[in-house]
């Protein structure tokens, strides 16, 4: 079995190497000479160029040749990348190359694991949207920044952690959140309970899963998610008022199917109000299935608070051992119910 790839091998794989000259200061000819390998759409390989600029800045900061950057990723884009791409004749007019930069940094952090955001010191534009409480292992998170006020209120009231993702969760945001947990000496191997306020639709669950994946990458391996937005939080009439049809283009077909499969595992009794099959008279063929979703906002703050009081409060302030005992008692009850079910069928 091969050994874990060395840092040098991982860098080589990503076409990253050391340059003595400052890449972002070099003229077009120099950029073309050094970064035209496997270039297709533009005169230079933009991914390779971006990664090397990022890596060079990291090297200079770590070697104390430069102070940490302490600015936003967007500022880094303007200060280092955009002008260099322009000089190399590689600035796209239609393509969002800022997104490409983010993807390349995520690749360097998560995929090939050669750096961390904090190595450069990037500032997190969502710093104000997260809190680490004294009961740090209880994490309330929302997909939208609109729930921020509610999160802050709950976080302050119960001294728990809270995070408003504000759309697709950023790896940077998660890295800094986990760093704050570490600073507070929270054991990352303990159980973490996550209370999720995301839209009840495929995109909402993709966002939730991406966040969980990021947490796992940074070392939180024992997490349990408790959904706060699902059809059983509403009455059938409320669902009929709040629901909206989920878009089903071909590109979303598989995602929608997977989401439905996951939803069915949970056996929400009101899920029936979120699925509608068109019936064709005189035809044996099954009609088209329309799926409906629920916005996170369809559950009122009052109801979310009530639910948290039932499901979150019993978990507060417990050590891992006490949590385990608490969960074992619940498991005991679940097993008794299962036993009765098996005896009576």
């Amino acid at each position: 079995m091969p050994k874990k790839e060395s840092l040098r091998a991982r860098l080589r794989k990503a076409d990253i190497r050391h340059f003595d000259k400052l890449i972002h200061d070099q003229p077009k000819e120099w950029l073309l000479k050094n970064f035209s390998k496997r270039a297709d759409e533009y005169p230079v390989n933009t991914a390779m160029l971006m990664r090397n600029i990022v890596w060079q800045l990291r090297e200079r900061i770590i070697n104390k040749e430069k102070p940490p950057f302490t600015e936003l990723l967007r500022t880094f884009w303007y200060a280092y990348i955009k002008s260099t791409l322009s000089r190399a004749g590689a600035l796209g007019r239609e393509r969002d190359q800022y997104k490409d930069l983010i993807a390349n940094i995520v690749y360097m952090v998560k995929d090939i694991n050669v750096m961390r955001y904090k190595n450069i010191g990037f500032r997190d534009d969502k710093q104000g949207q997260r809190m680490v409480g004294g009961r740090a292992n209880i994490i309330l998170f929302s997909e939208k920044a609109g729930h921020q006020e509610f999160l802050v209120d709950i976080a302050k009231r119960y001294s728990v952690s809270a995070l408003a993702l504000g759309g697709q969760p950023s790896v940077l945001n998660t890295e800094y959140f986990v760093d704050e947990l570490k600073k507070k000496k929270v054991n990352l191997k303990r159980s973490f309970y996550l209370f999720s306020i995301v839209d009840y639709d495929p995109s909402g669950w993709i966002i939730r899963d991406a966040f969980l994946n990021n947490l796992k990458f940074y070392g939180l391996s024992h997490t349990r998610v408790i959904e706060l937005v699902h059809p059983d939080m509403l009455s059938p009439d409320e669902i009929k008022i709040s629901r909206y049809p989920i878009k089903a283009p071909e590109s979303m077909r598989l995602k929608n199917q997977n989401w439905l499969k996951e939803v069915h595992k949970r056996n929400y009794k009101n899920q029936i109000y979120l699925e509608k099959r068109t019936i064709y008279p005189n035809r044996h063929k099954q009609g088209k299935l329309t799926l409906y979703g629920l916005e996170a906002e369809s559950i009122s703050i009052k109801r979310l608070t009530e639910k948290l009081q039932t499901v979150m409060i019993p978990l507060l302030g417990k050590s891992e051992e006490l949590l385990k005992r608490y969960e074992l008692k619940i498991l005991d009850q679940a097993l008794k119910d299962l036993m009765i079910h098996k005896l009576t069928i």
Binding site: M1, P2, R224, N267, E327, I330, L331, A334, H341
Partner: protein
């Protein structure tokens, strides 16, 4: 300090990678293949040790079917855990995973209702 014994590697990394790419026409991550091999290597080692033990207990020098088949069944065959084994396994889980088991049981009961 005694030298730590090196774990034997029964399955070759490249064989698995090549099989996935040429026979299955798929790609695979190194991490996944390593995890797969580790599980199998552990199971093979445990199977061989059990079979060897059975051979020695029978005062033979040749490992035979009657040694290897029960060991294979124990370590690689699909079988149900005894209730003691299941309970032992459950007690090892951290709190968050115990919660997931309760939830799975409750989901099952709701489905059956």
């Amino acid at each position: 300090m005694p030298k730590k014994e090196k774990k034997p590697e029964y399955i070759r990394f490249n064989t698995i990678k090549e099989y996935i790419s040429s026979a299955l026409k798929l790609r695979s991550t190194d991490k996944t293949v390593k995890k797969f091999i580790k599980q199998f290597d552990t199971a093979i080692e445990a199977t061989l040790k059990d079979a060897g033990k059975s051979t020695k207990e029978d005062r033979r020098r040749t490992v035979m079917d009657k040694d290897i088949l029960p060991a294979l069944e124990k370590h690689l065959g699909k079988r149900q855990l005894t209730w003691q084994e299941a309970a032992g396994q459950i007690l090892k889980y951290p709190a968050a995973d115990l919660g997931k088991i309760s939830k799975a049981i409750n989901n099952y009961l709701r489905k059956e209702e």
